[in-house]
Symmetry: C2
Subunit: 335 residues, 2 copies
């Protein structure tokens, strides 16, 4: 049975949202769940949200806390220290010891990355792990690496991202021979920053299905299944996209409200459709982002995750476990 360990102190509204998400996942999917966090608190919440139910959820005590204030050297100490008892350290150790198959957290992203890196180590052949979200496109999704773990990258890092992304998309999404592109400022070979131009021939040499440079609009048009970029550009790409989406939906709402009575009626009539659009383009629907390249399966959710998003995060982790992503990555990186 697949076992997922959830940092139950992760979301901004922990532990209630995290516990409710775990309960939803335990009811809907066939899996075991371990909650890490304050044992007494979590047992109370489980009893409150799922009374008299015999769900496959157990609690492992982690009395300490990591917060958004943990950063720099202090964070590294807590991430490395053998005796650390925060939910991330305890949960990731469960994966390391083989007592769980994947770790999920909606807590401090930097802390999850650093703790994973120090406690699990990297996959052989990987220099830098990558945050790898699924970007919605016209045709489905595109896996983007790296979206924030490594602000400055070398060409070899982008090649590794391409290999990892290709394996993940093939195994978990079932897309054969995924198309891999480099995010650039133009489609022609020769376009791009120094980094892009140096990476291009290296990716062309691999046995990946490398399709060359892709522009941001090409990503959203579904031209590639995997897009590689340095973590700085990737993060700007992601947050700009969120910004535009918000600007558009705010402007549409405002324009309809300032319109006449017909516009207002129209707005009411299309409200369900706009809800469906939001659902389709909402990153929460995916639930969590894999941190690819560490020696274990780690998924990172947004602090503002809903219980629904936590449930989805657990599902995404379960799918990756059952697709044997880690084994396939190790195999692919041997070449």
């Amino acid at each position: 049975m697949t076992t997922i360990v959830l940092d139950a102190m992760g979301t901004d509204t922990h532990p209630d949202t995290d516990v409710r998400g775990a309960i939803m996942a335990a009811k809907e999917y066939d899996l075991d769940i371990i909650l890490v966090g304050d044992e007494k608190l979590l047992s109370e919440k489980l009893a409150e949200y799922a009374p008299n139910e015999n769900l496959p959820i157990r609690v492992v005590h982690a009395p300490e806390m990591l917060t958004m204030d943990d950063k720099g050297d202090g964070l590294v100490r807590k991430a490395r220290h053998k005796e650390s008892k925060n939910p991330m350290a305890v949960g990731i150790d469960l994966v390391k010891r083989g007592e769980a198959d994947a770790f999920v957290s909606a807590g401090n992203t930097g802390a999850t990355m650093v703790t994973s890196l120090f406690r699990l180590g990297r996959l052989r052949g990987i220099n830098r792990p990558a945050l790898s979200p699924a970007i919605p496109t016209v045709k489905g999704h595109c896996l983007a690496l790296d979206l924030g773990a490594n602000p400055d990258c070398k060409p070899r890092n982008l090649v590794e991202f391409g290999k990892m992304g290709s394996v993940y998309v093939e195994k978990v999404w079932g897309i054969k021979n995924p198309r891999v592109g480099i995010l650039s400022n133009g489609e022609e070979a020769g376009k791009g920053s120094n980094l892009v131009r140096e990476t291009y021939p290296l990716l062309a040499e691999t046995d990946l299905n490398f399709v060359g440079n892709v522009e941001g609009k090409g990503v959203f048009a579904g031209e590639v299944d995997v897009v590689v970029t340095d973590g700085f550009t990737g993060n700007v790409f992601l947050k700009s996209s969120e910004g535009v989406a918000k600007l558009m939906s705010d402007t549409i709402k405002e324009t309809i409200m300032q319109g006449g009575i017909l516009a207002k009626i129209g707005g009411l009539l299309i409200k369900p459709s706009l809800g469906a659009v939001k659902e389709k383009l909402d990153p929460n629907a995916v639930g969590a982002v894999p941190l690819l390249g560490v020696n274990g399966l780690v998924f990172i959710g947004h602090g503002s995750s809903s219980d629904h998003a936590i449930k989805n995060a657990i599902r995404v982790a379960k799918e990756a476990v059952e697709a044997n992503v880690l084994g396939s990555l190790r195999e692919a990186l041997k070449k």
Copy 2:
């Protein structure tokens, strides 16, 4: 009287769109216009679209053509050669000789940049000119530099972009003491790529109203009036934003069409509102992007510009001339 010279062979649908845009501008604004391109063809088009009207438009002959195929060394030769008779060379020379105040083209962006650089030179104190579009925000607009002229930049380039952007926004948009930010992957000082982290203290030392790092979503939320970035990141930022906007509007249309009869009626009722949104967020409304840092006023429009966009491009150029942007830039760069 302000004189604007327009490359009448610029748009994808030249010269018709360009000539019609010039006629609209000549009727609406108080200015002189020079059209450069094939003299016979342009005279015919003027006679066709504005028969029997005595508009302040004259034609200067430029029999050669630059196309999207002009690039690399061949382009540089045409850009430098004294006797070049393409519309860009001829038009920019008119600005250089003081016979016109600003040059506008919707042709090959790279060719316009290279021709401007070789024929006008750079402003004293500027290492790299920058393409500087106005990005729509919740509150109005934000000037972004550089959005594509320089894929790889050094910290001093970003500082120059900040100075030029600040002058432009203050003089042309009338915003006193504009807020200047660096596009980054987080707001805190210390976030960012090496380039961002090295640029931060240099911008903090200037007398600009430097507000630190800004994320893509902060730009769209109107947190700054000027955002500086390298041309690679800027171009990814811009094209991703276009991609998301298209994805959203396509998804909204599709969802409404797949909805029931009420959704379809709603869609019809809000159609005018969506049109207004498109207008507000449409880069064509602004018309053209200044190339700041060359020793003359140059504005670059999109190849797909409509006649309306060409009219706006001419207006934007006229406003920059009358706000004495070039004089103010020279003054600011002396410091």
